[in-house]
Subunit: 209 residues, 2 copies
DNA sequence: GTCTATACTGAGATAGAC
DNA sequence: GTCTATCTCAGTATAGAC
């Protein structure tokens, strides 16, 4: 049956999202999905490729929406300046919309960004949109030295990863993805201020090189 | 010999720091350390306990220094306000000092925070200092609504995790921990601005509850 | 007290029958 | 397309040598 694939995808997304990739065995996935062990390898090739398939079925939609919003933003701005806020919204709001219909997906994405063992998959689906938003933000913040800007992007991705999956060790904030829109609102507010911070002293040294 | 333990700890820190916990097998560790497979279980009990031992030998020093700095800060401030900048420095500078003498340690810590599969270990060593800094920052930012403040702490930990281990997928920033002091300087600048950002609209709704 | 050799269990992956 | 049997390698446990 063709919905063997779908059953595997759904079970895997739920289990990996809630327990993590390493902690979820393919045997657990197949027993929840009610399919045979070899079905995963027949339909997807490997555990890692299964993960890639879960991402693929949603990520491309989210990224397409991101691109559309960025396109509109840039054409509206013409040669003028881009607003940091608008650029960040173009990046984060499509993810928040995806979370509305499918909370498990955002949880999973956050875990993957955090666990970081899946660079290949993440790079494949997110390199292009990540470069787009990096370029747009760079244009919004022309006065920042290069390294300073790159580090602020890095901080943003770190905060984003934790926001998506929730990590309760320190703050008691867990993996409940209800009201994902609210978190995104808080995150964007935080990031706008961070990006507009004065250049650090390490950044000022950099400028003098 | 007693330095069987040390050889294992050193090899494990290096390998897990550069490849991640799941990707590093105990057989790889023992072959690099030149010891027998069972030595890990004799000296440490399990792979996870080995990791706990690596953290224990450094983390307590770092945390003690953090506590000392926070103590001094609070006694100097008396009943007056605490500076966000000073509190963040008390948190981050001891880690930067540790990185000076032992770059592998910071890399490992960043990976662990990111991978997040080791809640027990992280909680054991960092719950108390994390609560201290949370309290101190809360006192510096009395005007923020509770949830807003908690989320900003969360963003901070996310940015911190990525800063320590470097995640090259998006920004090209890798695991090279030279000039860790410089990163910390940039991070603190970014965070100060983020913490001082105006309350988000989600936060304003929260206040009205 | 330390270390070695080896066996056990469960993981992901694969070949081949149907 | 699906299932069974099997392979390899992981972490773990233990018996016994020094």
């Amino acid at each position: 049956m063709i919905d063997t694939k779908k059953k595997i995808l759904d079970s895997a997304q739920r289990l990996i999202g809630s327990q993590g990739y390493a902690a979820t065995s393919v045997r657990h996935i197949i027993s929840e999905a009610g399919v045979n062990l070899a079905a995963i390898h027949y339909h997807f090739g490997s555990k890692e490729d299964l993960l890639a398939a879960i991402i693929a079925r949603k990520a491309d939609l989210v990224n397409k929406e991101r691109m559309t919003l960025l396109d509109r933003l840039e054409s509206e701005a013409g040669a003028g300046p881009l607003s940091v806020k608008k650029v960040l919204e173009a990046w984060f709001l499509p993810m928040a919309e995806a979370a509305d219909g499918d909370p498990g997906f955002v949880l999973l994405m956050g875990r993957l960004m955090s666990e970081g063992m899946l660079q290949t998959i993440v790079e494949k689906h997110f390199r292009e949109p990540a470069e787009r938003i990096t370029g747009a933000l760079r244009r919004s913040l022309p006065e920042l030295p290069d390294e300073e800007f790159r580090w602020r992007m890095h901080f943003m991705f770190g905060a984003m990863a934790f926001t998506m999956c929730g990590r309760s060790e320190f703050t008691g904030i867990g993996g409940d993805t209800r009201d994902f829109g609210g978190r995104i609102d808080r995150l964007i507010t935080f990031l706008i201020a961070g990006f507009h911070a004065p250049v650090s002293s390490a950044g000022r040294k950099e400028g003098k090189r």
